[in-house]
């Protein structure tokens, strides 16, 4: 267990030192480190070792342990980390300060692994902080607007960690212990108001990291300004640390039974979380539809998809929990896939603006296939993994009697379709503009990563049994009733899911149609110039419709898309700045009045004792 932490942290610093010698060595070392991590985590499949890192750090031991839940998260972290390192070989080759970049990538990865492995709140907090400021340095890596994004991120994450510290210590004040196993289930024994206060403090910190709607404003800037490999890790995994924390609080500390039971306190808490999650699904999806920058679209979509996960987890039933966890895995795969795809496009065409790209399908076919599979996963087309997790979510929402949440989530899916297709259409379909005529294919290392992730999306979609069995064991260990899972889906009386039927039906229909298409008269292949333009020749520069793609819709819902939270936070920052300027004017600068301050203080002290007997 300690080997994992040792290799991750040690590896990061080793890579940095080796980088001083030669960049080849740095890449090799980075790959070895991340590869080793994948192997180590895979080896610890369902073993549950525990160990203590430091016997007593400020009066409490730092301990780590591994159980099914943390293994599930750890494997996702390590795999996406490995892929992002492989992806960033060619992405970072030309850039400046590359060895700093690799150090930070491995450090953030190590921080996340530490979070997942930690067995008590103190270690959890320490690794959480390391991850936060590591991410800060990486977000502000490309200069210019990234600085503002980094600043916004670090302010909100510092607020989050401060609130979490207060929460942890208020828990410690009552229970005298940080260790999860001792805290499990006992959080309610204190007065309900106090336990609600502690739980909500922790949940606020996790909500900031998970970009739940009122606290989401840092995410769109951070994702679109961070370098592509890191924004894939950022949106695929780093957001899910908030989810891991939420699971800890809701399922471990509060305990599933209490969380679901209609006690007045916890029902209100759960209702608030559900409402916030559904708003997180709805509003960002439609803001994403209106974005013109590829990465901003993906950033807003990450917020929306994180909303699905929270909705699933806070719903509390086994299906809901399974939906949330499975959607975490799916989102990690297809969102990382989309970010890598867009990163490859950005690497080749040096631009992210959707309106100036187009027709890259002919020049970068593999990237197109990857982004297509990623978008299908995002939307939830039947043969991809997104569909299975959404199916689970909607089934439990409908059958447990809350159709309105299901309605909002489904409308969120339709928002996903709109911006998913917009992403695909603007970048890959349509006319290939003049300046991208000779764009080369994505380099080999990028394509390797894209292929692996698209395979993951499709295989998980067709055989959802593998992860679901894992999640079922976790759910049982959390104290929820199990569901009967076969390799192809859920077999249960109230509506089963069987992906092999869907696969075989679609495959058969597809083959039949393909045969008819090919059997009938051969069709001539024509280029993009030979196109219908009412008899005129195709205009050379721009013959495609990308600007204001959903303009009719935008005119109708523009009023609801204003990001009021962002403006509100900027207003507060302005107030604090003004107040601190006013405070600074206290030091007027001439000695006379400074001396006056001292004597005033003295007289106030004496008078308060003489007149009012204060002390």
């Amino acid at each position: 267990m300690q080997i994992i932490l040792l290799t991750s942290f040690g590896g990061a610093f080793a890579t940095y030192l080796l980088a001083k010698i030669s960049s080849r060595l740095r890449d090799v070392c980075a790959v070895i480190v991340s590869g080793l991590l994948v192997v180590f985590v895979a080896l610890l499949y369902n073993k549950t070792p525990a160990a203590t890192l430091i016997p007593s750090f400020v009066g409490a031991p730092l301990t780590v342990r591994l159980n099914m839940l943390s293994w599930f998260f750890a494997i996702a972290i390590v795999v996406v980390g490995f892929l992002s390192i492989v992806f960033s070989f060619s992405y970072i080759k030309g850039k400046e300060r590359a060895d700093f970049y690799y150090l930070m990538m491995l450090l953030v990865n190590a921080g996340m692994i530490g979070i997942v492995l930690s067995a008590d709140l103190l270690t959890f907090y320490i690794f959480w902080e390391i991850m936060s400021w590591g991410a800060f340095l990486l977000i502000s890596y490309n200069r210019g607007p990234a600085l503002r994004a980094g600043m916004k991120y670090i302010v909100m994450s510092v607020i989050g960690s401060v609130v979490m510290l207060a929460g942890i210590l208020s828990l410690y004040a009552v229970y005298e212990t940080f260790v999860f196993s001792e805290l499990a289930g006992r959080i309610a024994s204190a007065s309900p108001a106090y336990s609600l206060a502690c739980a909500s403090m922790l949940c606020i910190a996790f909500a900031i990291k998970n970009a739940v709607v009122p606290l989401h404003t840092w995410l769109p800037d951070a994702h679109s300004e961070a370098p592509a490999p890191f924004s894939a890790v950022l949106s695929g995994i780093l957001i899910k640390m908030g989810t891991y924390g939420l699971i800890l609080v809701l399922y471990l500390f509060v305990g599933v039974k209490l969380f679901i039971s209609p006690t007045y306190v916890w029902r209100g808490f759960r209702f608030v979380l559900l409402v916030l999650a559904s708003i997180t699904i709805l509003v960002p999806s439609f803001i994403a539809v209106m974005q013109n920058d590829a990465k901003k679209v993906l950033a807003w979509s990450s917020i929306a998809q994180a909303g699905y996960i929270i909705l699933g987890i806070t719903f509390g039933t086994t299906l809901g929990f399974a939906a949330g966890m499975f959607h975490f895995l799916n989102h990690a795969t297809f969102k990382a896939l989309l970010f890598f795809g867009i990163g490859a496009v950005e690497y080749r065409t040096k631009t992210r603006d959707l309106n100036s790209l187009g027709g890259l399908l002919k020049r970068m076919p593999i990237t197109f296939i990857a982004v297509l599979v990623g978008t299908c996963g995002l939307i939830g087309i039947p043969l991809t993994n997104g569909f299975v997790s959404k199916w689970l979510l909607y089934k439990t929402l409908i059958l447990e009697g809350s159709p309105f949440l299901a309605f909002i989530a489904l409308i969120g899916t339709w928002g996903t379709i709109l911006y998913g297709y917009k992403l695909l259409h603007h970048v890959f379909l349509g006319q290939l503009p003049e300046k991208y005529k000779n764009v080369r294919k994505a380099p080999a290392s990028m394509q390797f990563v894209l292929i692996i992730l698209s395979l993951a999306v499709v295989v998980l979609g067709i055989l959802p049994g593998i992860p679901l069995k894992l999640i079922n064991t976790i759910a049982v260990s959390m104290g929820m009733d199990s569901m009967n899972i076969n390799i192809f889906g859920i077999a249960s009386e109230t509506g089963a899911l069987n992906t092999v039927n869907i696969l075989s039906v679609l495959a058969a229909a597809g083959i039949v149609v393909w045969i008819i298409l090919k059997a009938s008269k051969k069709s001539t292949r024509i280029s993009q110039e030979d196109n219908y333009a009412a008899g005129a020749a195709i205009p050379a520069e721009r013959y495609s419709y990308t600007v204001d793609f959903y303009n009719p819709l935008y005119r109708m819902i523009r009023r609801y898309l204003r990001d009021i939270f962002d403006e509100f936070y900027y207003w507060i920052a302005g107030r604090v700045q003004a107040f601190s300027d006013m405070v600074r004017r206290l030091y007027v600068g001439d000695v006379g009045c400074y001396a006056m301050y001292i004597l005033l203080f003295l007289s106030a002290l004496i008078l308060s004792q003489v007149w009012w007997r204060v002390w």
Binding site: E529, D530, Y532, A534, G535, A536, A537
Partner: protein, 190 residues
């Protein structure tokens, strides 16, 4: 109208299908387009003959050149004709496409349309009435029946002559030639 003779359908489905489902490209060239709406709408319903106006040349196989063809319109006509899929038929309306009609001495209108694109049928009349259009259409059916409406094959076969005439008149055309010029297209589509 031998539309409901099952025997003929079975023997030569392609020819029968071509006859009874003509999609007309809704492309107005000259003064004749004002004649097309009455042909299509309620009084003289073209749909009973299986003729529907379609918006793009890709979907159509009947190309009605209604009225005189000016130099500018010829460029568009050639391009539209080349964009139509293969078994395609052209019908010239009125006298102007035949030999220039009353614009015989105008510097700006084409005199003989069939020197630039192949034309399968002509309908006389300085803008023929809808009944004349239907007579033309039935006549086209017989041409298709007798395999005489092979304008598209002639276009493929003598493409370099057609292309030569077009470029002699319009100067350099700004789209690539449809068929590779230089080698005469001997094989005729099966």
């Amino acid at each position: 109208m031998d539309r409901n003779k099952i025997g003929k359908w079975l023997k030569q489905p392609a020819k029968m299908a071509n006859k009874y489902s003509l999609n007309a490209v809704y492309f107005c060239t000259g003064c004749g387009i004002i004649e097309i709406p009455p042909v299509i709408t309620a009084r003289w319903d073209a749909e009973r003959f299986g003729i529907i106006p379609v918006a793009t040349p890709r979907q159509g196989n009947l190309f009605m050149i209604t009225g005189y063809v000016s130099l500018k319109t010829l460029r568009a006509i050639i391009r539209t004709y080349e964009q139509m899929p293969d078994p395609k038929y052209t019908v010239g309306f009125g006298s102007c496409p035949i030999n220039g009609g009353m614009y015989w001495d105008s510097y700006n209108t084409i005199k003989h349309l069939d020197r630039y694109i192949p034309v399968d049928g002509w309908i006389a009349g300085c803008m023929p009435r809808p009944e004349a259009v239907f007579i033309g259409v039935t006549h086209l059916w017989t041409l298709i029946e007798k395999d005489m409406a092979n304008g598209y094959l002639r276009y493929r076969e003598h493409y370099d002559q057609y292309r030569g005439n077009q470029e002699k008149l319009l100067g350099k055309l700004d789209w690539p030639p449809l068929y590779a010029t230089g080698i005469a297209q001997k094989e005729i589509a099966a």
